[in-house]
C-alpha cells in the first residue's frame, strides 16, 4: 500500500485516495480530430517517473499532481 502526500493533509495511506490517471492539457475545441483524440485517449504509460493525478477523496477532496516512479512506486519530488 502506497503512502501518498496530500498537499493539505500530509502523508496518508493509499486507501484514502482516488487515482485520476495522467493529466492531460485540454486543447481548445478548434483543434483537429487527431489532436483531440490524442488528448482524450492517448496516455504515455511510462515506465519510470510518471506525472499523475490523485484525489484525497477520503479526506479533504483535493486533486493534485504527483510524480511517481511506476517501476519502484517511489514518490518523486
Amino acid at each position: 500500500m502506497l503512502a501518498l502526500p496530500c498537499p493539505h493533509c500530509g502523508t496518508r495511506d493509499e486507501a484514502e485516495f482516488q487515482f485520476g490517471g495522467e493529466p492531460a492539457i485540454r486543447p481548445p475545441s478548434a483543434v483537429t480530430d487527431t489532436v483531440w483524440a490524442d488528448y482524450v485517449y492517448m496516455r504515455s504509460n511510462e515506465k519510470g517517473p510518471h506525472r499523475e493525478l490523485w484525489c484525497h477523496a477520503g479526506g479533504c477532496g483535493q486533486w493534485f499532481v504527483l510524480t511517481r516512479d511506476t517501476a519502484t512506486h517511489a514518490v518523486l519530488p
Binding site: 500500500m1 502506497l2 493529466p23 475545441s29 493525478l53 486533486w63 512506486h73
Partner: protein, 959 residues
C-alpha cells in the same frame, strides 16, 4: 525421548493429546513437533508425491515434512505446521497423506514406481489417452490435509499500526536493534514469530554483557512494543508490512489469528538464517534432522531426539549441537566434509567424511560414512543423523521489500546488499553472536536516525571460525538424493530438468516444483539452484534465486479478508425507512450499492404478479415510491450557473429558480456518463440528482473539473444525499394526497407545473415538493430531512389509503419507465452511447459554449449516420418477452450481421403485451420495419417503433 531436566517447558503443566488415536502427553511450552519427538514418534508424514515416510526435520518455519491435521475443540487446521503450533491440552493430531496412517501407508508402494514419475512426469508418462484421464486419481494420491466441508464463519480481526522503526526478528540482532532505536528516542515495534523472544539465544546458552543472554533480553526490550508469535509475511510499498499474529495461546484464551498492517518509517531486517540440509543418498529418512533443530529441541524443549548420533556437517555451526548432545549423554560422532578436523573431547571427528547411504526400517539404524567420491565407506550404527549443509540467510522479506541480493562464494550464501537499508545478524551472513549484537546496535541507531550514548551489548567472540566447504550433492550414480523434501524433488530431477533445457531457475522451479510446496523451499532453494548451476556449467551467482514473494509463511485467506466478508464484503446502504419496507413485505435487493425494494409481494403472490399489481395501481390510482437513494448534490456559488453549464450537456444557466430540467452529463469522450434532474433553487444555488450509484462519481467529476480546469470559478459542491429522504407520489390521484398533506404550498398547475419545485414547511419540518416523473404519470417528489422519513412515509400511506395508494418497488418502476421509453443509464446505454444516439440532439446544436464532451460529439465517428440509436421494439409474438442482450440481426444468405441489441424488455401491464427498448443501427430510419431477433440459436421477429409505448404526447404528466 524427554530428558529429566532442562528446556524452557513448564513441567508442572502436563498436557494430553492424541497422535493418530494414541494418547500421548507433553508440556506447556511444547510445540506439536517437540511433543511428538519427546514421545519417540519417528514418522510424522508421508511425502507429497512418492508417499515416502518422513520425520520432523527442522524446528521453525523451514520445516518441510511435519504438516499435520489438528483438531482442538471446534477448531480444525488440516495443514498445521507441527513445528509452529503450541501444544494444547486435548489436541487431536493426525498425519496427512497416508492411508490408513502415515506409519503404515498403503500408497507407500508408489515409491517403487519412482522411475516413472520423474520431474515433469505429467507431461510425459500419463499422456495416453490424455493427462485428464489420470489427473483425478493422481490428485487424490498427492497432497496434504483434507479441508473440512464447513464454510469459514469465524470473524478475523485486522489492526493497523505505525511506528518509527519496525524490527523484524526477535533474535539477538533484532533485540539489540530495538534496544538501540528505543534509546535513540524512536517508537519501536519488534515483531517475532516465536512464543518467546531470543531467537538463537533460546538454545545457545550464550552470555551477553557478562550475564545469561535471556536475562539481557528481558531488560533490553524495555519500552519496545513487542508482537510475539507474529510473522511478518509480506513487505509492501512505502514501508508497509503485513503481520499475522497467532493468538491460539492468547492470555484471554484462544482467538483467531489477527492481521496487522504496519506502516514503518524505517525497518531493520534481523530475520536470521535457515540451516540447509546436506544432499546425499536417502537423506530424507525419518531420524535425519537439521543439526541446529536438534540443538533447539534439546535446549528449548528438553528433548533428545536420538542416543547414538552422527553429526554430518560442512561448517562449524553443527559442532555446538554435537557438544550439547554429548553433554546430554548421547554417543556422538562428527562427520566433517572438510579435510581438517579439530579435536573435541569425547567426540570422534571424522575428517573428509560425508554420509554415503542410510538405512533402517521405520527410522534410522545406520549411516555409511566415507569420502565424497564414495571410494571407501564404513557402516556406523545411529538412530539420529544431524546434518548441516551451511546456512541460508532468511533474505525473503528483505528481497520482497526491494533489496538486492548478491552471492558470496566464501560464505556460500546469498547475502543482502545492505546499501540504504538496515540489516543485522545472521541474515547478513554473520554467524558470531558478538558480531550480530554489534550489527544490531548499529542498525537500530541508523534506523532511528539519532545518536544515543547507550553502550552496545557485548558477547565473547566465537571459538570456531573455520570456513564452510560448499557441498551441493554427491556424484554417486543410481542414488536418490533429496533436495526438496516436501515436493519430493531429487538432485536427479534438477539435473534432468537442466538437461531438458530448463536453464532458468524460474523454469526449473515450475518444471520440477522445487520450492513450490507450502514451505516455499526454505530448506531447498539454495541447494537446488546450486545443483542447477553445476549441471548447466554456470556460477551460482549467474543462476540467481527465484523471486521472493509474499507470503513468507502460509496465511489463511480468511485472515486477509478480515471482517470484509459476507454481508460486510461490500456493505449495502440502507434507506431511511428500510424497516418500513421490510415490514411491508418488500423484497430488498442490491441496486447500485443500496438495499432497495424490488417489489412488495403479498402472501402467496409471485414477483411477476406483484410487479403487475404495483405498476397498474400507479398508472390508474396512485403509488408511493422511495427515491431517497437518488443522489442529491447541492452546488452553490456566484459561478454555479456558469460552471454547471460547462459541465452539463444541456443548457442549465437559463433555468429559472424553482424550475427543473432533465440533463445529461457526458465524459470528455462524449459518452453519456449520467442523467438526472437539475433543479435551480436560487440564482446561485442548484440541486443535482445523479443516479443512485453515480453520486460519488459525479461529485468527484465536478471537483476534478473545478480544481483542475476552472479553479477561479466561485462554486462549491456538497453531497446531501443522506440528509434528505425523498418519496414519490405518482399516479392520477397523487395530487389529492399531496394537498391533504397540507403545508400551505400553492399546488395549482400554474404555481407548480410539471418540472417545477417549491420549498415549504410541513409544520416545523422543511420540505421540498418537486413535480418530476419517472413513471409518465403526474408525480410529486416530496423531500424532508431524513430524520422525518418514517413519519412522512406513514403519513403518505395513511392519507392515500382512501385513494388506494400502494408502495411500488424498483422492478415495478422499471416496467413503468420502459412503457414510457425513459432510459436507465448503464442499462439502455453503454460505454459508446452518445446523446445523439438517444435522440437528444438539441443542446449540441443550441449550446455554444465548450461543455464537457462537446468536441468529441463533432468527430466523424460521432456523426456517422449508421450509429446505433434508441428505438422501441414490439415483438411479433406479444406473449414473448425477449431477453435483454438479444441481437437484432440482418440475415444475409447463410450468415447474419448484428444491427444492435435489446437493452430493456418487459411485459407491459397497461398494453397487455411485451415491449422492448434497444440500440439499433440507423434505428430511427427503420421505423415500422420488422427485423429479425436472434438469441441462443433462436430467431424471432419484432417491429421497430418510437421508444415510447404509452401516452406519447405526455398528457398524463399533467392529468
Amino acid at each position: 525421548m524427554r530428558l529429566a531436566l532442562g528446556g524452557r517447558i513448564d513441567r508442572a503443566k502436563k498436557l494430553s493429546f492424541t497422535w493418530n488415536g494414541a494418547a500421548l502427553t507433553g508440556f506447556t511450552g511444547d510445540t506439536i513437533a517437540s511433543a511428538l519427538l519427546a514421545n519417540g514418534v519417528k514418522i510424522v508424514a508421508r511425502s507429497f508425491k512418492y508417499h515416502r515416510p518422513r520425520g520432523v526435520f527442522a524446528a521453525w518455519v523451514d520445516e518441510p515434512n511435519a504438516v499435520v491435521d489438528v483438531r482442538w475443540g471446534d477448531q480444525h487446521d488440516p495443514n498445521a505446521r507441527a513445528t509452529l503450533v503450541s501444544l494444547q491440552d486435548g489436541m487431536v493430531v493426525a498425519g496427512v497423506n497416508g492411508y490408513p496412517s502415515v506409519a503404515h501407508d498403503a500408497a507407500g508402494a508408489l515409491d517403487l514406481l519412482h522411475r516413472f514419475l520423474p520431474a515433469g512426469f505429467y507431461y510425459k508418462t500419463f499422456m495416453t489417452p490424455s493427462w485428464h484421464h489420470y489427473e483425478p486419481r493422481i490428485r487424490a494420491m498427492a497432497g496434504l490435509g483434507r479441508v473440512g466441508a464447513a464454510i469459514e464463519t469465524r470473524a478475523f480481526e485486522t489492526r493497523n499500526t505505525r511506528c518509527d522503526v519496525l524490527v523484524i526478528g526477535g533474535g539477538p540482532a533484532g533485540i539489540a536493534a530495538a534496544r538501540a532505536a528505543r534509546a535513540a528516542g524512536a517508537s519501536v515495534l519488534l515483531v517475532d514469530d516465536r512464543a518467546e523472544l531470543g531467537g538463537s539465544l533460546l538454545w545457545d546458552n550464550a552470555t551477553i554483557d557478562d550475564g545469561p543472554a535471556l536475562d539481557w533480553v528481558a531488560t533490553a526490550i524495555d519500552g519496545v512494543r513487542v508482537l510475539s508469535r507474529s510473522t511478518v509475511f509480506g513487505a509492501y510499498d512505502h514501508g508497509s508490512f503485513a503481520v499475522l499474529e497467532d493468538r491460539a495461546t492468547a492470555p484471554t484464551g484462544w482467538a483467531e489469528p489477527r492481521l496487522w498492517v504496519v506502516r514503518a518509517a524505517q525497518m531493520v531486517f534481523a530475520t536470521g538464517a535457515i540451516e540447509r540440509p546436506l544432499v546425499f543418498p536417502d537423506n530424507d529418512r525419518p531420524g535425519i534432522m537439521s543439526a541446529n533443530a536438534v540443538l533447539a529441541y534439546l535446549r528449548q524443549y528438553g528433548v533428545l531426539p536420538g542416543r547414538r548420533v552422527i553429526v554430518a556437517t560442512n561448517n562449524d555451526s553443527a559442532y555446538a549441537t554435537a557438544i550439547a548432545l554429548r553433554d546430554a549423554g548421547a554417543v556422538v560422532e562428527i562427520a566433517d566434509a572438510r579435510p581438517d578436523a579439530p579435536n573435541i573431547e569425547g567426540i570422534r571427528v571424522r575428517p573428509a567424511s560425508v554420509p554415503l547411504a542410510t538405512g533402517g526400517r521405520g527410522g534410522l539404524a545406520w549411516v555409511d560414512l566415507g569420502p565424497c567420491d564414495g571410494s571407501r565407506r564404513e557402516r556406523v550404527p545411529a538412530d539420529l543423523l544431524a546434518v548441516s549443509g551451511g546456512w541460508s540467510p532468511a533474505v525473503h522479506l528483505f528481497s520482497q521489500a526491494g533489496g538486492a541480493l548478491r552471492w558470496d562464494d566464501t560464505l556460500a550464501a546469498f547475502l543482502p546488499d545492505a546499501a540504504g537499508r538496515h540489516v543485522a545478524g545472521s541474515v547478513t551472513g554473520a554467524w558470531d553472536l558478538a558480531t550480530c549484537l554489534a550489527q544490531g546496535h548499529r542498525a537500530g541507531l541508523d534506523a532511528a536516525g539519532r545518536a544515543s550514548d547507550l553502550a552496545a551489548p557485548h558477547a565473547p567472540a566465537s571459538a570456531l571460525t573455520r570456513p564452510i566447504l560448499p557441498l551441493w550433492g554427491l556424484d554417486l550414480p543410481g542414488t536418490r538424493q533429496w533436495v526438496d523434501y516436501q515436493n519430493d524433488v531429487t538432485a536427479k530431477d534438477v539435473r534432468l530438468a537442466a538437461s531438458e533445457g530448463y536453464r532458468s531457475v524460474e523454469h526449473l522451479k515450475r518444471y520440477t516444483t522445487l520450492g513450490m510446496a507450502t514451505d516455499q523451499g526454505k530448506t531447498s532453494n539454495v541447494n537446488g539452484l546450486a545443483i542447477l548451476a553445476d549441471a548447466t556449467g554456470q556460477d551460482i551467482a549467474a543462476v540467481g534465486t527465484t523471486k521472493f514473494r509474499p507470503p513468507f509463511t502460509p496465511v489463511p485467506l480468511a485472515a486477509i479478508a478480515g471482517l470484509r466478508a459476507g454481508a460486510l464484503f461490500a456493505p449495502l446502504r440502507h434507506l431511511p425507512v428500510h424497516d418500513d419496507h421490510v415490514a411491508l413485505g418488500a423484497e430488498m435487493r442490491d441496486y447500485g450499492g443500496w438495499a432497495r425494494p424490488a417489489c412488495y409481494r403479498g402472501i402467496g403472490e409471485t414477483t411477476a404478479a406483484a410487479i403487475k399489481r404495483e405498476a397498474t395501481n400507479a398508472r390508474f390510482r396512485v403509488g408511493l415510491f422511495d427515491g431517497s437513494s437518488l443522489g442529491k448534490i447541492e452546488v452553490q456559488g456566484s459561478d454555479a450557473a456558469a460552471f454547471l453549464n460547462l459541465m452539463y450537456y444541456n443548457e442549465v444557466a437559463n433555468l429559472r429558480p424553482g424550475r427543473l430540467r432533465y440533463c445529461l452529463l457526458l465524459r470528455e469522450t462524449g459518452v453519456v456518463y449520467d442523467d438526472g434532474v437539475v433543479a435551480r433553487l436560487a440564482a446561485d444555488r442548484y440541486l443535482l440528482s445523479p443516479s443512485s450509484s453515480h453520486t460519488a462519481g459525479v461529485l468527484a467529476m465536478l471537483e476534478l473539473w473545478h480544481q483542475t480546469e476552472y479553479p477561479t470559478m466561485q462554486v462549491a459542491f456538497h453531497d446531501v444525499t443522506a440528509a434528505w429522504a425523498t418519496f414519490a407520489v405518482s399516479g392520477p390521484k397523487s395530487r389529492e394526497i399531496v394537498v391533504a398533506l397540507g403545508g400551505g404550498a400553492d399546488l395549482s398547475e400554474q404555481a407548480l407545473p410539471h418540472m417545477a419545485m417549491t420549498e415549504t414547511m410541513l409544520g416545523a419540518v422543511p420540505c421540498r415538493i418537486a413535480r418530476v416523473s419517472f413513471t409518465g404519470e403526474r408525480s410529486y417528489e416530496i423531500s424532508v430531512p431524513s430524520g422525518y422519513a418514517h413519519a412522512l412515509w406513514r403519513q403518505l400511506l395513511d392519507l392515500g389509503e382512501a385513494s388506494g395508494i400502494m408502495p411500488y418497488g424498483i422492478e415495478s418502476l422499471s416496467v413503468l419507465r420502459a412503457e414510457k421509453g425513459y432510459i436507465l443509464i448503464g442499462t439502455d446505454t453503454d460505454g459508446m452511447t452518445l446523446p445523439v444516439d438517444l435522440g437528444l440532439e438539441g443542446p449540441l446544436r443550441a449550446k455554444k459554449i465548450d461543455f464537457v464532451g462537446k468536441r468529441s460529439l463533432l468527430t466523424p465517428d460521432a456523426t456517422r449516420p449508421d450509429r446505433r440509436q434508441l428505438v422501441g421494439l414490439l415483438p411479433a409474438d406479444p406473449a414473448v418477452v425477449p431477453v435483454p442482450g438479444t441481437h437484432a440481426v440482418l440475415r444475409d444468405g447463410g450468415g447474419k450481421r448484428s444491427l444492435g441489441w435489446i437493452t430493456t424488455a418487459c411485459r407491459s401491464p397497461v398494453l397487455q403485451r411485451s415491449v422492448a427498448l434497444g440500440m439499433i443501427e440507423s434505428g430511427r430510419a427503420r421505423m415500422g420495419e420488422t427485423i429479425d431477433l436472434f438469441h441462443l440459436g433462436q430467431f424471432s421477429r419484432a417491429t421497430i417503433v418510437a421508444p415510447c409505448f404509452y401516452d406519447p404526447a405526455g398528457e398524463k404528466l399533467h392529468g
